[in-house]
Symmetry: C2
Subunit: 230 residues, 2 copies
Amino acid sequence: MSTLKTLDRGLRALDIVSRRADGISVADLALDLEVDRAVAYRIVATLEQHGMVLRLPQDGKLVLGAAVLGLERRFEPQFRRRARPLLDQLARQAYATAFISVAQQDKCAAILVSEPEDVLIRVGYRVGSTHAISKGAAGIAILAGRPPADGEPPEVTQARTSGFSLTKGALQQGAIGVACPIGGGTYEASVGVVAMEDLDVDRAIDTVKSCARALSALLTGAAQVTRDTV
Amino acid sequence: MSTLKTLDRGLRALDIVSRRADGISVADLALDLEVDRAVAYRIVATLEQHGMVLRLPQDGKLVLGAAVLGLERRFEPQFRRRARPLLDQLARQAYATAFISVAQQDKCAAILVSEPEDVLIRVGYRVGSTHAISKGAAGIAILAGRPPADGEPPEVTQARTSGFSLTKGALQQGAIGVACPIGGGTYEASVGVVAMEDLDVDRAIDTVKSCARALSALLTGAAQVTRDTV
DNA sequence: ACAGACTGTGCGATAAAAGTAAAGAGTCGT
DNA sequence: ACGACTCTTTACTTTTATCGCACAGTCTGT
C-alpha cells in the first residue's frame, strides 16, 4: 500500500507543530522534519491555507490553527453523542473512570472518557492519550476483538475467550483496568474502566460487558436494542 | 507563496471526510476531489497511516480517525485555559453568549464560546463555525485590528476608530453582535458577545472592551496585568 | 551601520506522483 | 454455482510537481 511522501510530511509537520504549545519557527520545523527550509515553507504555506496552522505575527512562530477545531467538532459526532450517556452510566455503576478507546496502528487511543462523580479518588484518563496496543486492558481488548492471530500474546487469547481483559498496574502503578471489545471487532474499539486497587472487579466486569453490548448495538445500527441491553 | 498540491489534496480529502457524518467511500471521495481513484487510495492510505481517517470495516467507508482528537487537545491549550474564565465572566456580565474568533483566510472562525447561565433565551454559537470575515461583528473587529487598508468597508474603519464593531442581524435575524479586536491585531482575533434584540448595548460594549484588554494582555505575555484590567 | 540569523522566492534537475491498465477480492443476483 | 459487477490494490510508464540550491529581503542586536 503506497503512500504519498508530500502528504506524509505535511501531516508530520502538523503533528510537530501541535506538540509545541509555545510555537515553533519554520526553521526549527525544517530541522525536526529533516527537510530543506524551502520545503518547510511550502508545507507551512499549504497548512496555513487550510487553517490547520497559523503564524503568530509577533514572532512568526507556528501554532495550530482553528481548522483543527472544525475537524474535532465533526469527529464521529453521532457516535460520541450516542455513546456518551452509556459511558456516563458505566462510570456511575462501576464507581470508576470509564473510557472508549480505538486502535490507531500499533497504538491505542482514548476517544471518550467519563469520570464518576460521587467517588473520592478517581483515576484520570485523558481523551486523546495513547499507549502501546499490547499494553493495558483497552488495547488487549481491541486485539481480542480481532480474529485470532498466531503469535499473539496469551492474554489476548484469554481475553477473547473470556470476553474481557483485565490488567493490574500495566500502565499505572496501582491501577486496575477492565475492558471489552466493542463493535464486534469491526470498529477496532473497546470500552472499559480504570480505577485504583479497591475496584470491585467482578461488578466491573459485568457492567463493562453490559455496556460493551449496548455500544456494539449502536455501532452496528441496531439502536433500538440499546434500551433492552442496558 | 507556493503551496504543495499533494498536501493540499490530502487536506481537502480530510475536510471532505469530516463533513460526511455517515462516512464516504473512496470512490466518492475521488469524485469529490476530482482525482483518479488510484490517487484517492494513496491519499487515504497516507491519512490512515497517521490516524487522521479510518475505514469502517463493515462497509469500507471513511470516517475521521482518532488523531484529530489528539490535535484538538493540543490546540493552544494554554490560551484556551487562560482565556476561558475571562470569557465566562464576560458572558455573565453581559448576559449574552460570549465568543472568541480568529481569522482564517477570508473566514472568521469561533474558537471558544461561553454561554451565560442565568438567562432564559440565549443565542447559540458553535465552536468551529465560520462565516465571511467581512460579515458580522467578530470578523469586522478582526479587520479593524489590522492596519488600515484602502478600499476596506466603512464599518471596519469606524470600528477601528471606536474600538468596537456592532452589527444587527448581520448573521442571524434578530441578533445583535458586539466585538473588539484582541491581541493588538497581531493575533488576528476578536472577542465579543451576541444576543437577541434586548441586549443592553452600552453595557455590552464596555464589558467586551474590558475583556478584550484582558485577553490582549494574555496574548502578549503580560499576564500579570490581567487582574488589574478585568 | 554592520553582522548574523531568519524569512521568503526563482529555477533547473530529478525524484515523486499521476494515470493508465490489469489483476485479485468481495458481493449480488440469477 | 456461476458470472457480472464494483471495489481495491499493484505494476509500470509518463508527466510534472517537488526538491534543494542559491540569492534577495527583513529584522535584531551590537
